[in-house]
C-alpha cells in the first residue's frame, strides 16, 4: 500500500512537471513550471514569445521576430492557442483568406466545380503558409477579389447552410435541456408532497380509525407499490417550431436568402424544321398557285372557331413532303446537304 502510494505520488510529480514544461518561451527559456503566470503570445508568423520578452523586444511598437526575422507589429500579438507554430500561422492565414473566399456549395452548378474551388482555396492557403510563390498567389487573391466583389459582400452577411443546421440543433438541445430540468424540479416537488401526504394519512388513520394497527400499516405499505405502477404521463414538449420547420421567435433564418438568378433572359428563337424532303411552297403562294382549290373550303361556322383553309392546306402539304428523302442513316443532317 505504502509503495503504491509513493509510486503514484512520484508519478504525479512527473506528469505535472512534464505538462508544464510543454510551454516554454523560446527566447528566455522560462517555463510554465517556473513561472506559473507565463503567457505565450504569437504574431502572424506563428512563433511564440512570452509576455515579458514581447515587452522587451517591441518596446518601440515594432520589431522583428527573433526566430524568422519577419517584421512584426506589437499590437498584432495575441495569445497562443496551438502548440505548433505552423498550425498557428496557418489558421491565421486561413481565417483571413476564408473571409474573402466565402462561396458555398449553392453558388456552384455542381459538386465537382465546388470541390475544384475548395481545392484552389486550399492551395492558396498552403502556398501562403509554406512561402511558395507568395507573390503569384497574392496576385491571384487580388484577382479573385476584384472578380467576385459583389458575391463576397453578399456571402459575408449570409450564414452558411451548415452553420444554420448546427445552430438549430444546438437551440433544440438547449430547449430540451431546460424543459427537462423544469420537469425534474416539478417531479421532485410532487414526490415530496406525495410522501408527506402519505405520512400524514397514515398517522391520521392510526389515530382515528378503529381497525387493527397492523392492518392499517399493511394497507399503507401496499399503496405506494400500487402507485408506482401508475402510468407516468409524458409531458409533451411545447411547440418550438412552425410546421414549416422555422423556429418560433428565431430571427436568423426566417426568410430564406433570396436566390440570385444569374441565367440569361429568355429570348425567342424560331424553331428550325428539317423536313428531309422537297421544300414546301411558302404560305403566301398557296392561294396564288391554286393549292387551296383542292381542300375543303372553310364555312362560316368553322371560321368563327378559328379554322382557316390555308392552315389546313399548308399542313397537309408539309405532311405529304416530310421524310420523302429519308434514308436509314444515322445522321439526318447529312441527308439535308445531299
Amino acid at each position: 500500500m505504502e509503495a503504491l502510494y509513493v509510486e503514484q505520488h512520484g508519478c504525479t510529480h512527473v506528469t505535472t512537471r512534464e505538462s508544464m514544461e510543454d510551454q516554454v518561451c523560446p527566447r528566455c527559456k522560462t517555463t510554465k513550471y517556473r513561472n506559473p503566470s507565463l503567457k505565450l503570445l504569437v504574431n502572424v508568423c506563428g512563433h511564440a514569445l512570452c509576455e515579458s520578452c514581447v515587452d522587451l523586444l517591441f518596446i518601440k511598437g515594432s520589431g522583428s521576430c527573433p526566430q524568422c526575422q519577419i517584421p512584426l507589429r506589437r499590437n498584432n500579438f495575441r495569445i497562443q492557442l496551438f502548440e505548433d507554430s505552423y498550425v498557428e500561422k496557418e489558421v491565421d492565414i486561413r481565417r483571413r483568406i476564408l473571409k474573402d473566399f466565402n462561396k458555398s456549395e449553392d453558388d456552384f452548378p455542381d459538386l465537382r466545380e465546388y470541390n475544384d474551388y475548395l481545392e484552389e482555396v486550399e492551395t492558396i492557403i498552403f502556398n501562403l503558409a509554406n512561402n511558395i510563390d507568395v507573390d503569384e498567389t497574392k496576385r491571384r487573391i487580388e484577382q479573385y477579389k476584384r472578380d467576385n466583389k459583389d458575391q463576397i459582400a453578399r456571402n459575408r452577411v449570409r450564414p452558411s447552410q451548415e452553420d444554420l443546421e448546427l445552430e438549430e440543433i444546438l437551440i433544440n438541445e438547449k430547449e430540451l435541456h431546460e424543459l427537462r430540468s423544469q420537469e425534474f424540479v416539478k417531479e421532485e416537488k410532487k414526490e415530496k408532497l406525495r410522501k408527506m401526504r402519505e405520512k400524514e394519512a397514515l398517522i391520521d388513520d392510526l389515530m382515528f380509525s378503529e381497525g387493527d394497527a397492523k392492518q392499517i400499516l399493511a394497507m399503507h405499505s401496499i399503496k405506494p407499490a400500487a402507485k408506482e405502477v401508475q402510468q407516468r404521463t409524458e409531458t409533451r414538449k411545447p411547440a418550438t417550431q412552425f410546421s414549416t420547420g422555422i423556429a418560433i421567435g428565431h430571427k436568423g433564418s426566417f426568410v430564406p436568402p433570396p436566390k440570385v438568378s444569374e441565367a440569361l433572359l429568355y429570348s425567342y428563337v424560331p424553331p428550325k424544321v428539317t423536313l428531309c424532303g422537297p421544300d414546301v411552297p411558302e404560305p403566301e403562294r398557296l392561294s396564288s398557285d391554286g393549292y387551296l382549290k383542292h381542300v375543303r373550303q372553310a364555312d362560316d361556322a368553322s371560321m368563327a372557331s378559328g379554322f382557316r383553309t390555308d392552315y389546313a392546306c399548308y399542313r397537309a402539304l408539309q405532311e405529304a413532303f416530310i421524310g420523302l428523302f429519308f434514308f436509314n442513316r444515322s445522321d439526318p443532317l447529312e441527308m439535308d446537304t445531299s
Binding site: 459538386l111 481545392e119 445552430e167
Partner: protein, 769 residues
C-alpha cells in the same frame, strides 16, 4: 464437460424429437423439459423470421438445444435458412460450442448413416490462428496483426517480386496460390483443427477461415466480428440475409455495443498522432520525389469519387470504416482534403485543435453539434471534410503502401473519431475530464466520446439478418432489452428450471443479529455496525457451509475498505480459522493466480473468493456452495458518462434513471449468484445481503428461476435465521440424489416427453413474457 452432460450422457444414444413438426436430432438420451420448450419457442421465432429474446437458466443446456434445433432447421428448410452465426464472448466459450456441435454432427452421422454435409468453424483473431513460426510467438494481438499485415499486403508482395530481401509468409503465399478456391472439407473445425488443417496443407489458417465463413453453414466467433463496425465491415459484410444470428451470454450486449462505438482520447494518444503525422509527411515527400505517379493516381481517383474500386483485395486489411452513412460511399471526397499534402495539414490542424481542447481545468460536456461549431470557429474545419476523414486516411495509407498499419492506429482512431462526431448529432456526447476519477490531483485530461445509444451499433445486425436470437441465463427484466436495443422481438420468453428437489436457496438477509439493517446504501455503508454485521454474516455462513463460499462486493473500493475494518474487528481471523481466504485484486494476473489457487484449494473445501469475478468463471459444485452478495452492485452513478447515458435513455426511450440503474444492478447481481449453479445435480445457497433487495422493484427484476424459489418468508431474515435455514437445507441436500429421482420430473426420456400430460405441462410452462 459440463455438469448437466455428465448426468444425461451416460450412454449417449440420443433421440429424435418432434418439435412442432420439425424432426430434431438431439444427441442425448434424456432431455430437460425446459430444453424442449426452448426449442419450441426458438422454432416459432425462426418460422416467423423475426428476432427473439430467450432467457434460460445457466447449466440447463442452452447451447445444445439451440444448435440441434437450428441445424435441424437448416437441414429441413435449406431455402429459408442457410446459415447460423453464433456469437460468444470468449475463446473457451467458442470452443465449448464447437465441441457441442461436433457431438451433434457425429450423432447425425450415426443416425442417418451418412455424413451431414455441414461445415462449422470458429474464427478468431490472427493471434489465435497464426502458424507462422516466428509471428505466432508474439504475445500481443496487435503486434501479430501488424507483422502479418507486413508480410501479406498486396503491395508488399508486389514489391517482393523486385526485391528478394523482403520476407513473405509462405503460408499465405501457398494459400493464395492454391488454396483460395478450394473449399474446406465438410466437418467441424475448432481453432486447433484449423491450425492442424493449415499445417497439413501449408496454408494460413486465418485466411482459410476468413474465406470459409462465407460458405460455411455454421460460424462461431466473437461478438466483435458483428458489432464492432470496424471489424464487421471486413469480416461479416457478405453474410447472406437468410442467416440466424445468435448472441449467447448476451446480458451485457448493450455495453459491448456502446464500447465498440466509443472513443477515448488522451494527451499521449495525440502525441503519438503527432509522430504518425511526421512519418506520413516524410513518406509523402519521398514518394513525391521518387514516384509521384502513385499520388497523382490516387488524386485522380478521389476527384472522380470512385471509391472502392481499389479495395476488395482481401489482404489489404485496413483498420478503418466505422458505420458510414450511405451518402459518403457515393459522394466524392471534398476538394479541400483531396490533395495528400492538404489532407496532412488538415489532420494536423485537427490534432492541434484536440490538444487545445484537452487543456482544460474543469469538466466540459458538449454535444457533437457544439463540438462541430467550436471546431469550425477555431480552426475552420467544417463538418463535411471531417466526415470523410476516416475514408481519406484509409485511402492515403493504402496509396503510401504502409505495410504495418498498427503503427498508425492512433491516427486511425482520431480519424474515426472525426467521422463519428460529424456523422451523428444524436446518441453521442463529448465529455472532457481534466482529472482521472481515481487520482483527482493529477492532471490527466481525457476526452470521452461516448456512445449512449446501444442501438446504433446493433442496428445493422437487426436490419441485415432475418432472425437474431439474444439469449442468456440472466436477461431479466426481458422488456428492457428491446427498449435499449430498439428492436421488436417476435418472441420473448423466460424459462424456469424444473427441479426434482429445491436445489437453490435464495435468501434476503436484511438485518444483523443486533437488528441493525444491513445495506450498502451510500449513507450507511461506512457505518461500523453495518460492516460488522456483514462480517458476522460471513463468519456464520462460513461456519455452516462445508464447501467453497464466494462473496461478491459492489466495488473494489468498498471491498478494500470493508476488509480493512474486518482486520481491526478480528473478523478475518475468525474466517481464517475455517477457510482459506483469497482476495481478488484489480490486477488481472494476480486475480487469475488467486483463482487458480482457489480451485486447487477446493480439495480442502475451504476457501472464499472476494471480488468481481462474476463474468466467465463458474463456481460449480464444491467450488461454490454459497454465494453472498454484499450490497446491491449499483454502478458508480457520479460518472459523467453514465449520467449522460441515463439522460439520453430517459429522453429517447422513456426509461427512468432509477429503472435503468436498478436493472443494471440486478442483472449484475443475478449474474454473480448465477455462478453457483451449473446444473441440476448442483446445489447452492444465494444470500442477498441488503435490505433493499426485498423491495418489489428489485426483487421483481431477478430472473424468474430465482424468483420462484424466493418465498416471502425468506425476504426479511436476520443473520441468525438465515444460518438456521442454511443448516436445515444443507442437511437435506446432502442426501444421495440419483438420476431416477429426476426422471419424469426434470429429466425426460423420449417416451415421457411425448406423453400427453407432459406436453401439456410444457405448454403451460412456456409462459410468454
Amino acid at each position: 464437460m459440463r455438469k448437466w452432460e455428465e448426468e444425461i450422457a451416460a450412454e449417449a444414444m440420443g433421440q429424435r424429437l418432434n418439435v412442432e413438426g420439425l424432426l430434431v436430432y438431439f444427441p442425448y438420451d434424456y432431455i430437460y423439459p425446459e430444453q424442449y420448450s426452448y426449442m419450441v419457442e426458438l422454432k416459432r421465432a425462426l418460422d416467423a423470421k423475426g428476432h427473439c429474446l430467450l432467457e434460460m437458466p445457466s447449466g440447463t443446456g442452452k447451447t445444445v438445444s439451440l444448435l440441434s434445433l437450428i441445424v435441424a432447421y437448416i437441414k429441413t428448410n435449406p431455402t429459408d435458412l442457410t446459415k447460423l452465426i453464433y456469437c460468444s464472448r470468449t475463446v473457451p466459450e467458442i470452443e465449448k460450442a464447437l465441441e457441442e456441435l461436433r457431438k451433434l454432427v457425429e450423432f447425425y452421422a450415426q443416425e442417418t448413416g451418412e455424413n451431414p454435409n455441414i461445415i462449422g468453424l470458429a474464427l478468431s483473431s490472427r493471434k489465435n490462428l497464426c502458424i507462422h513460426p516466428e509471428v505466432s510467438k508474439e504475445r500481443d494481438g496487435k503486434v501479430v496483426d501488424g507483422r502479418c499485415h507486413s508480410m501479406t499486403a498486396s503491395y508488399v508482395r508486389a514489391k517482393q517480386k523486385d526485391d528478394e530481401n523482403i520476407a513473405l509468409c509462405s503460408f499465405y503465399e501457398d494459400w493464395d496460390g492454391h488454396g483460395k478456391e478450394i473449399m474446406l472439407p465438410y466437418g467441424i473445425y475448432n481453432l486447433d483443427d484449423l491450425k492442424e488443417y493449415g499445417r497439413k496443407k501449408g496454408w494460413c489458417p486465418y485466411f482459410v477461415a476468413r474465406k470459409a465463413i462465407s460458405y460455411a453453414s455454421i460460424v462461431v466467433y466473437s461478438y466483435h466480428y458483428l458489432l464492432d463496425p470496424k471489424i464487421a465491415e471486413l469480416v461479416s459484410k457478405e453474410m447472406s440475409r437468410s442467416s440466424v444470428v445468435v448472441f449467447d451470454e448476451a446480458h451485457n450486449i448493450d455495453n459491448v455495443c456502446i464500447d465498440s462505438m466509443s472513443v477515448n482520447i488522451t494527451r499521449r494518444l495525440l502525441d503519438k498522432c503527432q509522430n504518425c503525422i511526421q512519418v506520413l509527411e516524410r513518406t509523402i515527400n519521398n514518394i513525391k520525389e521518387t514516384d509521384s505517379v502513385r499520388l497523382r493516381e490516387e488524386y485522380q481517383r478521389l476527384v472522380e469519387g470512385l471509391r472502392g474500386a481499389s479495395i476488395a483485395r482481401e489482404a489489404d486489411v485496413l483498420l478503418a470504416n466505422p458505420v458510414f452513412p450511405d451518402e459518403i460511399l457515393q459522394e466524392a471526397v471534398p476538394g479541400n482534403i483531396r490533395n495528400a499534402e492538404h489532407f496532412m495539414v488538415f489532420i494536423k490542424r485537427f490534432v492541434e485543435y484536440l490538444k487545445m481542447r484537452l487543456r482544460v481545468q474543469h469538466v466540459v460536456q458538449e454535444s457533437p453539434a457544439g463540438f462541430l461549431k467550436d471546431c469550425a470557429q477555431r480552426v475552420c474545419i467544417e463538418r463535411k471534410p471531417l466526415r470523410f476523414c476516416a475514408e481519406r486516411l484509409a485511402s492515403l495509407l493504402r496509396t503510401l503502401e504502409i505495410a504495418d498499419l498498427s503503427d498508425f492506429s492512433p491516427l486511425t482512431l482520431i480519424s474515426h473519431f472525426a467521422t463519428l462526431v460529424s456523422t451523428y448529432t444524436k446518441g453521442f456526447s463529448l465529455i472532457i475530464e481534466p482529472y482521472d476519477e481515481k487520482t483527482p490531483t493529477v492532471l490527466n485530461p481525457i476526452l470521452h466520446f461516448s456512445c449512449m445509444d446501444a442501438s446504433i451499433a446493433i442496428k445493422p445486425v437487426f436490419d441485415r439478418f432475418q432472425s437474431v436470437v439474444i439469449t442468456s441465463g440472466t436477461l431479466s427484466p426481458l422488456d428492457m432489452y428491446p427498449k435499449i436495443l430498439d428492436f421488436h422481438p417476435v418472441i420473448m420468453s423466460s424459462f424456469t428450471m424444473t427441479l426434482a428437489r429445491q436445489c437453490i436457496l435464495p435468501m434476503i438477509v436484511a438485518r444483523g443479529n443486533d437488528q441493525v439493517a444491513i445495506s450498502s446504501r451510500f449513507e450507511t455503508r461506512d457505518d461500523i455496525a453495518v460492516i460488522r454485521n456483514y462480517g458476522n454474516l460471513l463468519v456464520d455462513i462460513v461456519s455452516v457451509v462445508p464447501d467453497g463460499v464466494v462473496c461478491f462486493f459492489t466495488s473494489y473500493l468498498y471491498m478494500e475498505q470493508v476488509v480493512a475494518s474486518w482486520y481491526d474487528q478480528e473478523i478475518i481471523q475468525s474466517i481464517q480459522k475455517r477457510k482459506l481466504l483469497f482476495i481478488e485484486t484489480q490486477d488481472a494476473a494476480e486475480t487469475s493466480l488467486a483463482l487458480l489457487n482457489y480451485i486447487k484449494a477446493r480439495n480442502m473445501r475451504c476457501s472464499i473468493t472476494l471480488g468481481k469475478v462474476s463474468e466467465g468463471v463458474d463456481f460449480d459444485h464444491h467450488l461454490g456452495r454459497a454465494v453472498i452478495m454484499m450490497g446491491i452492485p449499483y454502478v458508480y452513478t457520479q460518472s459523467r458518462i453514465l449520467r449522460a447515458r441515463l439522460e439520453y435513455l430517459r429522453d429517447q426511450f422513456q426509461i427512468r434513471e432509477n429503472d435503468f440503474l436498478t436493472f443494471d444492478a440486478m442483472r449484475h447481481a443475478a449474474q454473480c449468484v448465477g455462478r453457483v449453479l451449473r446444473g441440476k445435480t448442483d446445489y447452492g445457497i444465494m444470500v442477498f445481503a441488503d435490505k433493499r433487495f426485498a423491495r418489489v422493484d428489485k426483487k421483481g427484476k431477478l430472473p424468474r428461476w430465482i424468483q420462484e424459489h424466493l418465498k416471502d418468508s425468506m425476504c426479511n431474515l436476520s443473520t441468525e435465521e438465515a444460518v438456521q435455514i442454511c443448516k436445515r437445507w444443507l442437511r437435506q441436500m446432502a442426501q444421495p440424489f440419483t438420476r431416477e429421482d429426476q426422471l419424469g420430473v426434470s429429466l425426460l426420456t423420449l417416451e415421457q416427453l411425448q406423453s400427453e400430460e407432459q406436453q401439456k405441462r410444457i405448454q403451460q410452462r412456456a409462459q410468454q413474457a
